[in-house]
Amino acid sequence: MSIVTGLVEADRVHRSVYTDPAVFEQEMQHIFGATWIYVGHDSQIPNDGDYATTSVAGQPLLMVRDKGAVRLLFNRCAHRGAQVVPDGEGNARLFRCAYHGWIFNNDGTVRTIPLEDGYRNSCFGRDNPESNMKPVANVATYRGFVFACLAETAPPFESWLRGVDSSIDNMADRSPEGELEITGGVLRYMHRCNWKLFVENLNDMMHPMVTHMSSAGTARTVARRHFDKDEKLPPAMEILGPFANNYDFFEKMGVQAFPNGHSFSGGTSSIHSRYSEIEEYNEAMDAAYGEERARAIFSVNRHNTIVYPSLTLKGPIQTIRVIKPIAVDRTLVESWTFRLKGAPDALLERSILYCNLINSSANLVGPDDHEAYQRLQAGLLTQGSDWVSMHRNLDEEVPNEDGGWSTNGTSDFVFRNQYRAWAQYMERAL
């Protein structure tokens, strides 16, 4: 019997999925090591020789542009195993290992082995592909978003992504040129919690009005003090206020969930849908797409999309948060922003402002989420109960048009759907 047997039931999960280091190790192997994981955006490496280090399941990887193509290599010297390229990004024609000086081309093939003659009686050496930096078995790109699957056999990418591909489309379509460029740096926020607590929370619509009252509620109070009822609010206040919207708002936002654990909250409305119009941008969109198509793009307004298990995105505000599990109770969350190519700077500046206010480790909103995760991580160590409830709106979801299910915003269905995928991944390995 596997260590994960019996941990997931239809309407609840065992607390050890969040607390047991052995379960975490299995997840790294059978989920993060076995399915599609976001590793970067191809706009990070526009030119040949451009590289950016990344990782999956704690394994250092190297994303590199070679002869126009995006390649992904295990960032490990073929010789003794040292990480070849230190963490960071840049441009290089060759990669040289710091230990014994082996030199590799951008595609990972070995170019130089010092004193190569010493390998004459072995099969090692430049003629043997064992001497190359190994490529990751499966790499797929969708609208510039690069995903990797470390396993030899990957799920068919397009059908795996189905249902949430449209969220990526909507983010990219919001560019008058239909393209995104990652820019503006990265915020790296270390969370003292299990990775799943963060992922689940992004489609948890029962928490904002409680957890974020002290920030969003206070922002509303301050805004009322300084601005008349009908006065246009500064962007920061437009961003903070809706986190304190009422239950009815989040309920009506709705959620859509799909096979493989994916989901998104919102659809035609979200906490992002009442931001002020930027006229110059609207004109650029109308010119690029025609008015009707531009309106159709803007009519899609999703809150958080979860590309399970590692990528979460916000199309209307052009940000992503990437989940990197470190340990059973440690998770790194990277927050990245995009420029909509062809759009005025005001759009990027709004995305940046959003990340400063919501995703930074020093902001007023994220730390209250983090506090909730830490209390979960602590509470789940008690013997009070072995089970974590996911009972809300049980069996009330209905099929949607895109091969998934639709239900009310505050339903726990998204969690049940995530654990259905979780159990499938974990049990497939048996």
């Binding site: 915020l187 790296r188 003292r192 920061a236």
Partner: protein
């Protein structure tokens, strides 16, 4: 207007740090000019606060929100009352334009924040852009560049 002495500047920076140590956020906030900014960049040497993310980039309105939240019982991440202290050192007047009544001052900051059995230490290069108003210093910009501003990090709960 004569250029303030280094002792004047040091005394001001120490009194500013003492206000923060004492959690007298309101008095501290009054040190800023109306359009004054408090900034913790996310990248060493970061110049652009608008098209690059920051850990904090706050004008008067956002400081007002944060300061009110400090007193909010439902600010869950602040429960257990984070407390902190700051040491300001190596103060230097980098430039002064006394005709305009402005000066730029740099210093080094060591600070610590304690909450619920955990102490977080901070080391930072700090730049103040100061304006002289009726013989008093006002802060037009306080830029706190953490030594490890681009590292993966946990919460920063207080103003540094």
């Amino acid at each position: 207007m004569t250029t303030p002495s280094i002792a004047d500047v040091e005394a001001f920076l120490v009194s500013e740090a003492r206000l923060l140590d004492a959690r007298d956020w309101t008095a501290w906030n009054q040190l800023f000019t109306p359009d004054g900014i408090y900034w913790i960049p996310a990248q060493p040497g970061q110049i652009d606060p608008l098209q690059h993310v920051s850990l904090i980039y706050e004008n008067a309105l956002l400081r007002e929100v944060r300061i009110e939240r400090f007193e909010d019982r439902n600010a869950f991440s602040l429960q257990g009352g984070p407390r902190g202290w700051r040491i300001v050192a190596n103060v230097r007047i980098d430039s002064a334009d006394m005709a305009a009544g402005t000066l730029t001052v740099s210093s080094r900051l060591m600070a610590a924040e304690y909450q619920r059995d955990r102490t977080t230490r901070f080391e930072a290069f700090v730049t103040h852009r100061l304006v002289m108003e009726q013989g008093q210093f006002r802060i037009a910009l306080k830029r706190v560049e953490l030594l490890d501003c681009d590292a993966a990090r946990g919460d920063i709960s207080l103003y540094l």
